[in-house]
Amino acid sequence: MLKDLFTKKKRYATIPSERAKQEVPEGLMTKCPTCRTIMYTKELKKNLNVCDSCGHHHRMTAYERINSLLDAGSFVEYDKMMIGKNPLDFPTYEEKLEADRVKTNLNEAVVTGEGDINGFPAVVAVMDARFRMGSMGSVVGEKITRAIEVAIEKDYPFLLFSASGGARMQEGVLSLMQMAKTSAALQKLSQNGGLFISVMTHPTTGGVSASFASLGDYNFAEPGALIGFAGRRIIEQTIRQELPDDFQTAEFLLKHGQLDRVVPRKEMKKMITTILDIHQHA
């Protein structure tokens, strides 16, 4: 229709054409989605994936996060070889898992292990949103639970960086139950006097936001991270009104008393070190 030409349409991300792909080598440059500055990916990585011109926090992979926090060479990974099954016989689920394993070089959506942060030992769990949107199924629930159990056993603090769209649909109610399982492990940790620091990164929503991510002794978030229980679209459909632009951002949660602090990535290691130090002298 002719009038379509004149109406403002929402812009969607476009997939580069084959020709464009040949002209610009994949991943050489990155465009910031906030300020649209185009920069060298290498430079961005050096800057902890934070945009130099506007401060937008780009996603980090699990290992990038671990390298940015832990003292070099100190990380020892747990349960690296644990992989998921297909408990509901859900069509194409196994293929999707396999595709994500190839794409991300990860076996699942969370990496767990232990290491030192400026000399302080800690158990860490870092989620990776590239693997099935960081969703929590049996493996994510089990790996996090096991990591918490090690933290209890060794009397180490537990640090978790969440990045997840929520529970994994393809494992149905088993995914839902991982919320109870991980929360029960945190209850045990808490009873033991153990410290849990939760850092919510973009995005932390649904069943992950409604379980371990919200249960830290300290709850932090990275600037601009999307954090919430229900999806924005569902809420808009339910209440039939537009939501404020900053709805469900880290800053929105801070304003409403749901977070202790919003912490820029560059200050993260220093702040966590301070907390570990304060707790050590308790």
Partner: protein, 325 residues
Amino acid sequence: MASELGFERPIVELRDKISELKTFTNEKEIDLSDEIEKLENRLQQLEKDIYGNLQAWERVQIARHSDRPTTLDYIEYLFTDFLEMHGDRLYGDDAAIVGGIAKYHGKPITVIGHQRGKDTKENIRRNFGMPHPEGYRKALRLMKQAEKFNRPIVCFIDTKGAYPGMAAEERGQSEAIARNLLEMSGLTVPVICIVIGEGGSGGALALGVGDRIFMLENSTYSVISPEGAAALLWKDATLAQKAAESMKITAPDLKELGVIDDIIREAKGGAHRDVQSQAEAIDRIVSASLKELEVLSKDELVNKRYQKYKKIGQFTFVNDTNGVE
């Protein structure tokens, strides 16, 4: 007859026919008893075929039936001296969750449950049984009180899910649900959870961490509603029926997945056909469970509950064919 569902139509039609013939026999004094007997046999067979072989989507419809008994219905049948207690002491009172203290066979108990309405007016007041954070915080307050006074807790689960609204997010829907999961796992009194209608996602689970988890035969328990799953997985909410079948959300499915302890049988056609006998069936299983749980020490109770959830999930290890748990 109570409002019937689409798949029940053949049964209803046959029943109507039989009663028509019976009236005819009486009025015209023509003996049709052979005919009637034949039809009654067929009705029995038909009921067995339909009710004995309910598909997931049919169970979803029964679970959502407007006549289906709610938390307050069961409370009336099961407990005496029920006193409803209101409010979370932080923000407000959420009518989508009810709770209070009562006596159960003469002994003190705390009972909590999602509460939906039976008509539009009540549904609006109770927000269709979809709680806000203050509902979960009220529930937790009552549970901690039960723990303090050492009385067991019964939770009835019956919600489409936690309410997806702006105010709910502002007041910390995620934190409220998460806090309940954590605290419930550590309660030092017996906790029995029964899914009586729809068990929708985190909003259901927030009353669902206990020592025994039961489901009524035609209730459902799922990570997302069939409509939501269809919209998310296939971008088409009208495929809800297909989603219901593939998501494994019925009581027999959950028993097989090792998530629930047992299924509580329902009357033919659903709990709303016979609330009294449904309450009796619930009573039997709650009584038996409490007997088993009351002998456990506080530590045993909490440890067993922890192990119960710890073993839920399915995974394996690469290069290890025996590592299946």
